[in-house]
Amino acid sequence: MTAGAEGLGEEAPALTYASVSGRTRRRLIFDRFIPWLLPLAFVVVLFPLFDMIFWVAQKAVPTFTLATLTETQVGFGGGLYSMILGTLVLIAIGTAIATGIGMAAGFYTAEYAPRPVATFGRLAGNILAGVPAIVLGYFGYYLLVLYTNWGFTTLAGGIVLGIFMTPYVYRTTDLALTSVPPTQREAALAMGARPRQYLLRIAFPIALPTVLTGIFFAMALGLGEAAPIVYTAGWSSTPITGLMQPTSFLTGAIWLFYDLPPSEGTLLTLAFQAAFLLILIVLGLNVIVQLLSDRFRRRLQGLFE
């Protein structure tokens, strides 16, 4: 009926851009226009990124020397040594705790826990990841500084940082194990492997790269946090010699020195140098994470396809 009305093979149908008008024409013009419009959002977002890196570098690099890394801040002078040391120790404690708790919990959630328990654990993990860092900070301050009578200690800072990092390690471990193709398990068990052997010899090696990326990711987040440690690790300009002392750390340097009067401008420079160093470390970790996941992805690609 409708087709017959015009008859195929007679005049050319209106298929060209030029042949349409009104509503259809507006639709086509809009479709041409919007791919140029939407990516403008990238300018809005990436401009701050570059501006930030540029300014931080500009304020930090001219005075950045080896001494910045090796000297301890004294008065208005010196370098970041004690803060770098403190950050390293804090992140080491944090990573140890987060890896221990996170991987163990992730392992059990993925492999052993009954379904409702696993679901509940995952929900709790996700909520824990959403707890504001400052709430963790208050928690740490009340429990590990006041209640224990430790006062400000590196250990307390490390523990709170560990709790902050835990959910990321936990969820990636769980995810990595649950996304191992089920055929692998069936094949292993069919060949007579015990569940434990399957986990250690097969599932874990497959999951390891994802777990590692999770750990590095958690480290990057932990490195940049100030809120959980400012009121647990306290502050001390001298390099630490033990875990039960307060310590300084890179993010703390920024928090303490950002708002000083101009007369104390050298400390502001130190804050920018700390910021510069943090950006470098975080970018480095990001690159590692990318390389790791690219490399392992290629190696494991066959498995996931």
Binding site: T2, A3, L8, G9, A14, L15, Y17, V20, R27
Partner: protein, 259 residues
């Protein structure tokens, strides 16, 4: 291959000439030339991986939604080269519709599903209402869903969903309907209904249907094309192709000796 404006004889819905489709690393379709007749059901058969799906997707420029595919050659729709740079793919697809392997209803009501294509053009509501009903009737599913138009389309059975999809494609009044294994995921009863719908529809429009079922091609089509490894081995009336295949490859396939 400039063929713009070349008149296509009456009774030919689509004229495909020297069509090549290439992915980055391989050639999927090689030198396909075929005339798709008007108001008939053309079945495209062949072993899996032979390029059947790519072939019908190249007929309404759906190949462009896959990154890395390049199309070379000519597809003439009523004398107009659809791959010409001045042609808007959106307009091609309004005239050459498509139905997919699995039912692909949107998570909205039955009514809104069928109205989807018309809403894009901001048609008046009374026109839409009329067209929705008419399309559902043509797709042979009106009687079953006429009281459930406001229900979510996803709550219907698979067979009904697939016919909703056919109705949705029909609502924009295409001249040609491309169907990619439209009954692959349906039970025998639904399959039968869809096939009956096809026969009705072919009174008005052309249908190109990919199928992996030789029996379905024999039952539901009047013409059949056999593709093998990206080449068109043979095409002709279904009866002839099944009873007196000219090519050995075709014979082996339709008699079930391989594939």
């Amino acid at each position: 291959m400039s063929a713009e404006g070349v008149p296509t004889p009456n009774g030919v819905a689509l004229r495909v000439r020297h069509l090549y489709v290439r992915a980055r690393d391989r050639t999927i379709l090689t030198d396909i030339s075929i005339d798709i007749p008007d108001k008939e059901v053309t079945a495209v058969i062949g072993p899996s991986g032979c390029g059947k799906t790519t072939f019908i997707r190249s007929l309404n420029r759906m190949t462009e939604t896959t990154q890395g595919l390049t199309v070379q050659g000519s597809v003439l729709y009523r004398g107009q080269e659809i791959y010409s740079p001045s042609v808007a793919p959106v307009l091609v697809r309004q005239r050459i519709g498509m139905v997919f392997q699995r039912p692909t209803v949107f998570p909205i009501s039955v009514y809104e599903n069928v109205a989807f294509g018309l809403r894009l053009e901001h048609q008046p509501e009374d026109r839409i209402e009329q067209e929705v009903q008419h399309s559902l009737v043509r797709a042979g599913v009106w009687e079953e869903v006429k009281n459930d138009l406001d229900r979510p389309a996803l709550s219907l059975s698979g067979g009904q969903q697939q016919r909703i999809c056919i109705a949705r494609a029909l609502a924009v009044r295409p001249r040609i309907l491309l169907m990619d294994e439209p009954t692959a995921s349906l039970d025998p009863v639904s399959t039968q209904r869809v096939e009956a719908t096809l026969e009705e529809l072919s009174q008005e429009i052309s249908i190109v249907m990919v199928t992996h079922s030789i029996a379905q091609a024999a039952r539901a089509s009047t013409r059949t094309a056999y593709l093998y490894q990206g080449r068109l081995i043979e095409e002709g009336s279904t009866e002839e192709l099944f009873e007196r295949p000219k090519q050995k490859l075709t014979e082996e396939y339709v008699t079930g000796r391989f594939g």
